[in-house]
């Protein structure tokens, strides 16, 4: 398992991955809940279906960003949680986006933003 963890100097995460990581930041969730959280945070543009959710989760698992947690309650649903590497990747991406947002504000590209 050797896909390198994105960090400084690495290409940015895809939007889907970022939002999934974001959704898991507060705690482990199962698939449908992730879907709802992503829709809430990303809006109408990022509507993901179950296939994409789990497909991405699988790839992220390969990369060591998330982990399937042994279910304690409801057997029907698999629950995924952030791994430390995933948290680090999320933070790195968040920092990158913040930097970009600051640049955009400095250039006054978006009216109404201070």
């Amino acid at each position: 398992m050797s896909k390198p963890v994105p960090s400084r100097g690495q290409p940015p995460l895809t939007a889907a991955v970022f939002h999934i990581l974001l959704a898991l930041a507060d705690g482990p969730l199962h698939g449908y809940a992730i879907m709802q959280a992503v829709e809430a945070s990303a809006g109408e543009d990022m509507r993901m279906g179950p296939g994409t959710i789990y497909g991405s989760l699988q790839r992220m698992e390969d990369a060591g960003l998330v982990r399937e947690l042994t279910t304690l309650g409801d057997d029907r649903r698999r629950v995924f949680g952030l791994q430390p590497a995933g948290r680090r990747a999320l933070e790195a991406e968040a920092r990158r986006l913040t930097r970009l947002a600051a640049l955009v504000r400095a250039r006054r590209l978006i009216p109404g933003e201070r």
């Binding site: 698939g31 279906g49 029907r76 649903r77």
Partner: protein, 911 residues
């Protein structure tokens, strides 16, 4: 919500598009999410989201699945090539097979038995029943016979004037021809030998439709007396002429006369085909039939019913029509007979039969039955192999799961199991080939001689391939079963459960039980059949052949025309021979005769009896033997009334005859046969009346299981001069000389040969044999099939026992813990043993039940082969279950003992 049921069903179906692992892992989650979406968004909204989701996620997941597979292969097997992995598999398979030697040995032997036996028998059946005759459209060929209604001799040959009439009268055939066997003394370069020749009318070769390989066959103009031409068989041409391409035109010396070779037949050509029909010995040389003026004349009516007539059906005429016409031609032929023969000849009939049936007819049923038996053995073998492989596979499920967990792809595991199955089958097949070949080579000559169309039976390649493929299929299918079973479940579950407790254990157990029961049932069928045949054989061997000839040596000589062209010369030769052989010190008595008793290949002649009880039945036919010397004492044939021939009667014809008891009782029951008279031919024939001076005991006539036919004995002097001088008759010119000795028969061979050579050094001696051998040959076919079936039955029983043992042993291993628990809870060891034995006997009894039903059916099929044995023979059907029970108990013994030895504490502790 049933309104969403359709959507959910569709989605579930669409999930099949995902890679296998993805679906296995997330399938239930995907469906649950889909259901939640339906709740939240409704049908339309859900599908609007799901369809693009599918389009996006499918390539995603498949790509990932491919990558992960490649990674797994790389990590687990370090980047092997396909060939490299194959070699590793083979090595591993060999090692794992060697580690379980009992399983491997038993499987290989089982496969070998099934493949070998099946191949051998099927090759034989193929050679006899299925191999083409080698003639053009052989199904259009028919043989025409004559016969006398009410006569015990059945179909006899055609008399020459009748044949001539048939050529003009018949309408069903485009052409008919006649032929007759003629033995020749072949001389020239090399040892003189007696060969079989066949005299054919010019139409015979065209009827068969086969052209000569070199030269040609006969012309019409050559079918006349005095045209000394010959056609060689391929074998003869190879042997005596070194395959000389210029052999055509050279001469071949037959009976010391030169014949011009006009053609050589192809290697595949064989005519006539060996078989029960008249004139059924393949010829090495063909000469023209060349019927002379006597044979074509009215004087030849009523005699020489010795020719076989063959015809090719006209156009697309059905055989039945030819048969009907033959029946109608009988009376027409009779009208052509001279007036004085009209009365007695009126029972003359003509019949026609398809050639193919005449050749293969009698052996068809026994061979098919044999084929059935072998098929059963193959089934038993397959069932056993399946059982063995299944048991072993179940024990290996753990190993397979571990391999799968380590990353072995499905294809790789398949390959591994396939290689093992194929290795087993290859080894079994090689051994089977060896067994089959041995069986085929070991078949006694009498069998191959008795079977039509067979010279050298070799293993048929197609047969070997078929049985090989069948066995391979069995081994592979059952070997792969665990893999197919374990695919459906999470392999992790398998590992977690541990031990040899297997998934679907109940289903597997049932399957194994069925296999054991069926192999037991099949073994019972074979055992019962073998038992019946054995019983029949013992009855057959108890038949009194009618002779007592423990140390009698016989040889056959034939006098060619050259040097023996007068009756006097022939007589003086045989008288001299008799005296010389009788003078050999170790010989107690000698006799010369036209044919040997028991062999049943002698002359048949029509005769009429004087003062018969029933005058309308006075004419019949009987076997006839001409004797010189003390025939009856030499062969131990009892004279039950009157006397044997006196030496003077051998030299001078006094009109004496000796008849068999069957004849005396048929025509003069209750009366004294001595003094009664009979003559050759029909009542109106001008034969001389002969007086009965003695009645001899009945002798078996070729077939032990049939009652002896009527037999007439006449002294050699009775043979009229024309019969001796004319080479056409041939009968008196070929005699067997027999000598009784007190010592070992082998010591007489050289002196007898010397006696013959002293009279004529150029004479070929044939068929040196003993009467003991002749009698053994008479029962050889039955002995062989009994032995064979007995061998099969034993093999099947052994296999069934092994199958039972294997299953029980495996069961004990599997249930070790359960047994430990039982013992710990207070069961005695006896009860545990009883558990195992009971299981085994239940299976056995079930198999026995089915088997008995099958055996009853098989017995009905065997009816035609049994001699004095009822199909429902009590002895057989009572002893078979007994044998089976004993064998089954033995098979249960070892596993039961092992169960009894289980240590409860150890069993409970071991997982």
């Amino acid at each position: 919500m049933h309104r969403w049921a359709v959507s959910r069903a569709i989605y579930r179906g669409l999930l099949c598009l995902y890679p296998h692992e993805f679906r296995a892992r997330f399938g239930s989650d995907l469906q649950a999410d889909f259901a939640d979406l339906l709740h939240a968004r409704g049908t339309m909204g859900t599908w609007l989201r799901v369809v693009p989701d599918l389009c996006r996620s499918l390539p995603l997941t498949h790509a990932r699945a491919r990558a992960s597979r490649k990674r797994a292969r790389a990590t687990a097997y370090h980047g092997e090539t396909a060939m490299g992995s194959l070699k590793a598999d083979v090595r591993h398979a060999v090692r794992s097979l060697v580690k379980t030697p009992v399983f491997t040995a038993v499987t290989i032997v089982t496969l070998a038995l099934g493949i070998g036996a099946n191949s051998a028998i099927f090759s034989l059946v193929n050679a006899v029943l299925l191999r083409p005759l080698g003639y053009v459209e052989p199904e259009r060929l028919m043989l025409i016979y004559e016969g006398f209604r009410g006569s015990s001799l059945g179909k006899i040959g055609v008399s020459p004037p009748d044949f001539i009439d048939l050529t003009t009268l018949q309408r069903s055939f485009s052409s008919i021809g006649a032929y007759r066997t003629q033995q020749y003394e072949l001389s020239g370069a090399g040892e003189p030998e007696q060969i079989i020749g066949v005299r054919v009318s010019a139409s015979v070769f065209p009827i068969l439709g086969v052209r000569a390989a070199h030269g040609r066959t006969f012309l019409e103009s050559e079918d006349q007396p005095g045209q000394d031409v010959a056609v060689l068989s391929y074998g003869l041409w190879q042997r005596r002429y070194g395959s000389d391409p210029h052999a055509v035109g050279r001469t071949v010396t037959l009976d010391r006369r030169p014949y011009t070779i006009v053609g050589v037949m192809p290697a595949s050509f064989q005519f006539p085909k060996r078989g029960p029909q008249i004139n059924g010995e393949p010829a090495q040389v063909w000469t023209p039939l060349a019927l002379g003026p006597f044979e074509r004349s009215q004087q030849a009516r009523g005699m020489m019913y010795a020719h076989t007539v063959i015809g090719r059906l006209r156009g697309s005429l059905p055989a039945e029509q030819a048969m009907r016409e033959a029946g109608a031609l009988g009376p027409t032929l009779v009208r052509n007979y001279p007036a004085m023969l009209q009365g007695p000849i009126k029972s003359l009939m003509v019949t026609a039969a398809p050639l193919i049936g005449e050749i293969a007819g009698q052996v068809q049923r026994p061979l098919l039955i044999l084929l059935g038996a072998v098929g059963l053995v193959l089934l038993v073998a397959c069932a056993n192999v399946a059982n063995l492989v299944l048991s072993r596979a179940v024990t290996r499920q753990r190993e397979i799961s571990v391999r799968a967990a380590l990353g072995a792809g499905r294809r790789r595991l398949l390959q591994m199991l396939l290689v093992e199955g194929l290795l087993l089958t290859a080894a079994g097949g090689a051994l089977g080939l060896f067994i089959g070949n041995t069986v085929v080579r070991a078949m006694p000559d009498v069998i191959t001689l008795a079977l039509p169309g067979v010279q050298n039976v070799g293993l048929d390649g197609r047969v070997v391939l078929f049985t090989f493929a069948l066995s391979a299929l069995t081994a592979i299918i059952f070997g792969l079963l665990p893999l197919i079973v374990s695919e459906r479940r999470d392999l992790a579950d398998l590992l977690r459960e541990g031990g040899a407790r297997s998934i679907g254990g109940a289903r597997q157990h049932r399957l194994q039980a069925m296999l054991v029961v069926s192999s037991v049932a099949l073994a019972v069928v074979l055992l019962a059949s073998a038992g019946l045949l054995m019983h029949s054989f013992t009855k057959l061997m108890a038949v009194d052949p009618g002779i007592r000839a423990p140390r009698v040596l016989t040889m056959q000589v034939r006098l060619p025309q050259a040097g023996y062209d007068s009756a006097a010369a022939v007589r003086s030769f045989y008288q001299g021979l008799h005296d010389r052989v009788g003078a050999i010190p170790s010989v107690r008595g000698a006799s010369i005769q036209t044919d040997l008793p028991v062999k049943g290949d002698g002359e048949r002649r029509g005769f009429t009896v004087d003062q018969a009880i029933d005058p309308s039945n006075a004419t019949s036919s009987a076997a006839v033997t001409w004797t010189f010397g003390d025939y009856f004492r030499t062969f131990g044939v009892p004279i039950v009334k009157g006397r044997g021939f006196l030496p003077e009667e051998d030299l001078e014809n006094r009109g004496m005859t000796i008849v068999s008891r069957a004849l005396a009782e048929r025509y003069w029951p209750g009366q004294d046969p001595i003094g009664k008279r009979l003559k050759w031919g029909v009542a109106a024939s001008r034969g001389r009346w002969q007086t009965v001076v003695g009645v001899a005991g009945d002798v078996v006539d070729g077939k032990l299981d049939e009652p002896p036919i009527m037999h007439i004995y006449v002294p050699y002097s009775e043979a009229v001069d024309p019969a001796l001088a004319v080479p056409m008759a041939g009968l008196m010119r070929r005699m067997t000389v027999a000598a009784v000795t007190d010592q070992d028969v082998a010591t007489v061979v050289a002196p007898m040969r010397a006696a013959i050579a002293a009279l004529d050094p150029a004479l070929a001696v044939a068929e040196v044999t003993t009467m003991a051998q002749v009698m053994a040959d008479a029962s050889a076919p039955q002995r062989f099939s009994t032995l064979l079936l007995g061998a099969f039955a034993s093999g099947a029983l052994l296999l069934a026992a092994i199958g039972l043992y294997g299953m029980l042993a495996f069961g004990v291993t599997r249930r070790t813990r359960e047994i430990g628990v039982r013992l710990a809870l207070g069961a005695t060891r006896g009860e545990v043993v009883g558990l195992v034995v009971r299981q085994g006997m239940i299976l056995t009894l079930t198999g026995l039940g089915f088997g008995v039903v099958g055996a009853l059916g098989a017995a009905r099929l065997l009816r035609g082969l049994l001699y004095q044995t009822e199909p429902l023979d009590v002895v057989t059907f009572a002893s078979v279950p007994g044998i089976l029970a004993v064998v089954a108990l033995l098979a249960c013994y070892l596993p039961a003992r092992r169960a009894a030895r289980v240590e409860p504490m150890a069993a409970l502790r071991a997982e």
